[in-house]
């Protein structure tokens, strides 16, 4: 898609997004739309490492949860929304730094296992250290923030706030992708040894990318807390890390919108499945297996490939049919 058609498609999507509360049925679904957007931010954050950095993490749900829990606990302790949000971001950045220092000792499967272990440790704390985190009962908050005095208590107003944050995140990610730093990160993904010989500090590039990823995880975690007004240990479980990874790989890691598409697919599928079929884990697992086995580059590039193929075949068939005598033109 080039030029004008891309621009008009983009404008159409923006218009659609901006008017969701009007054409979506009831407030429950508007909340779902908000969730799609916040998980899109989460997926974009993970894609910084997976897609641009070539580092697959199975512990990112831990960072997401750290943010939500920090804000939730601070709010319960009596802090205001501003302080709670700032605290959440800071603590998550700290956690990201720890994650990075430990996991960047390795790449590939080693990186995967270290992030998995770290995520599991955070889950273990959320689940078992009940004195701190209230364990399985979770943490609930009574109010949503009121930025600039605007109440976010209603579903549409929360949606618009989430939409604004999502659009900012998208713009920042786009700038990151096109920037020299983004190119350095991708270069380190493709030829780490060569990059070092060219004068780049590969470890530092990855470390900073991890912090950038962690920052947006913290934003997504905050949005989640405000959306549900509740957070529980499940949010940090291995399954949650697998879900966000699925969002990234199902939408495709190579494009900016891939993770967004993936988040949309996964969240909607989760809700549809839960409503009609009871077992989400089963469906999640099957989709995961299918994508890994058949379309490792993700649904978006994969379907572009398949769609392009189908389109060419259809056009070719039309061309041959036209050239036959007696064929309708």
């Amino acid at each position: 898609m080039k030029g004008r058609s891309a621009a008009s498609a983009g404008f159409g999507m923006l218009l659609g997004l901006a008017t969701v509360p009007f054409w979506v049925g009831n407030s429950y679904y508007v909340d779902v739309a908000s969730q799609i957007l916040l998980f899109a931010v989460f997926a974009l954050a993970l894609n910084v490492l997976v897609g641009y950095g070539g580092l697959v993490s199975l512990g990112h749900a831990g960072l997401f949860a750290v943010s939500g829990y920090t804000a939730g606990l601070m709010l319960q302790a009596g802090f205001g929304h501003g302080a709670a949000a700032a605290g959440a971001v800071l603590v998550t950045l700290l956690a990201s730094a720890v994650f990075a220092v430990l996991s960047l000792r390795s790449t590939g499967i080693g990186f995967l296992m270290i992030t998995l272990a770290l995520g599991q440790i955070l889950w273990g704390i959320a689940y078992r250290w009940a004195d701190l985190t209230n364990g399985d009962n979770g943490v609930s908050i009574s109010t949503r923030p009121s930025p600039f005095g605007i109440s976010l208590a209603s579903a549409p107003s929360l949606y618009y706030a989430t939409l604004v944050v999502f659009l900012v995140a998208l713009a920042v990610m786009a700038a990151f992708e096109r920037s020299p730093f983004g190119a350095s990160l991708r270069g380190a993904r493709d030829q780490a040894r060569r990059m070092t010989a060219l004068g780049y500090n590969v470890w530092l590039i990855r470390f900073l990318a991890f912090l950038f990823s962690g920052f947006w995880c913290s934003i997504a975690g905050l949005l989640y807390l405000y959306n549900k007004q509740f957070i529980s240990p499940q949010v940090s479980a291995l399954q949650a890390s697998a879900e966000v990874l699925l969002m990234v790989i199902s939408g495709g890691t190579a494009t900016l919108l891939g993770p967004v598409a993936g988040a949309t697919i996964v969240v909607i599928t989760k809700y549809v499945v839960s409503a009609y079929v009871v077992r989400w884990n089963l469906v999640l697992g099957i989709i995961f297996v299918a994508i890994i086995s058949f379309m490792p580059e993700g649904l978006v590039p994969g379907s572009v490939r398949i769609w392009g193929f189908a389109q060419r075949r259809w056009l070719a068939r039309r061309a041959t049919r036209k050239s036959l005598p007696g064929a309708p033109s």
Binding site: S106, L282, L284, G285, I292
Partner: protein
């Protein structure tokens, strides 16, 4: 004092179970260079399978062996039909096993529902042993003996048979093993099936102690992971030592620091991973 002794016996028994679980995991990790994230699933599925057979009146050992066989077939099938298609892409293979673990976990929930099953120990091993004025459950001691027997059998296989030599060659250097004519792909299928069988056997043997419940897979997998990281991938001796170590850490940790049980378990693994990632993963690492 008796509490500690009881804990100690439980730890040794648990260590024995862990060895049965981790030996297969270690072989798979050593040979195929992937942490099999569905290993806990094989344990749980095998346990459910065995317990079902027990419920229809089968002999305990028959149930355990039949379950091992069933999981060997399933494991072999998974390797041959799914993992082999991704040969050379270890990261993709790991994610595949993760996806499958979700599938198995939900299938088990659908088939066997959420109630835990706890079968009785085989009738010949019920009862207690009295020693030094103390009472120890006979079955737990039996589990240790079983683990040792299996350990010896595995060691004999790996060190003394041709198959074992091929496995060791594959663990050392799979590409070179191929070059000298070892059918490494078939070896992968075999070892994966063997690992699944061992896990299933462990699941059934462990059922009278741990019971079988949804989430058993998620409880056991991290333990296998930790044992193998600590003990070294592909090393049966490492799995043996690691299993008993973790058995103790787990039980005593649960008793003394229930809040931080998970952290206590994962921390040594993390330290090892961080300090020596290359030594553990060879090809798959940095």
């Amino acid at each position: 004092m008796t509490l500690w002794l009881t804990l100690a016996v439980n730890s040794i028994a648990f260590g024995g179970l862990l060895f049965l679980l981790s030996a297969g995991f270690s072989l798979i990790f050593g040979l195929m260079r992937i942490p099999n994230l569905m290993h806990g699933s094989f344990f749980m599925l095998g346990a459910y399978f065995g317990v079902t057979l027990l419920a229809v009146g089968a002999n305990f050992w028959v149930a355990a062996l039949a379950s091992a066989l069933a999981m060997a077939i399933i494991g072999g099938g998974v390797e041959r039909l799914l993992l082999r298609r991704l040969a050379g892409q270890e990261l993709a293979q790991v994610l595949l096993t993760l996806g499958l673990s979700f599938v198995v976990s939900d299938l088990c929930l659908m088939i066997w529902t959420g109630d835990p099953w706890q079968p009785l120990a085989p009738s010949e091993l019920r009862g207690v042993v009295r020693a030094g004025g103390m009472i120890f459950p006979l079955y737990r001691l039996a589990v240790v003996v079983i683990a040792v027997i299996v350990a010896v059998a595995l060691w004999l296989m790996v060190d003394w048979t041709r198959l074992g030599a091929m496995i060791r060659a594959g663990v050392d250097d799979a590409p070179i093993a191929r070059v000298v004519g070892i059918r490494v792909s078939r070896l992968f299928t075999l070892v994966f099936a063997l690992g699944a069988a061992l896990a299933a056997f462990a699941g059934v043997v462990g059922a009278p102690i741990l019971s079988v419940y949804p989430g058993l897979d998620a409880d056991m997998l991290p333990l296998a992971l930790i044992v193998v990281i600590l003990g070294g991938t592909g090393s049966l001796l490492g799995a043996l030592v690691g299993s008993f170590l973790i058995g103790f850490l787990y039980n005593f940790g649960q008793a003394r620091f229930p809040d931080l049980a998970y952290v206590i378990l994962f921390l040594p693994m993390l330290i090892v991973l961080v300090v020596r990632p290359q030594g553990l993963f060879g090809r798959g690492g940095a």
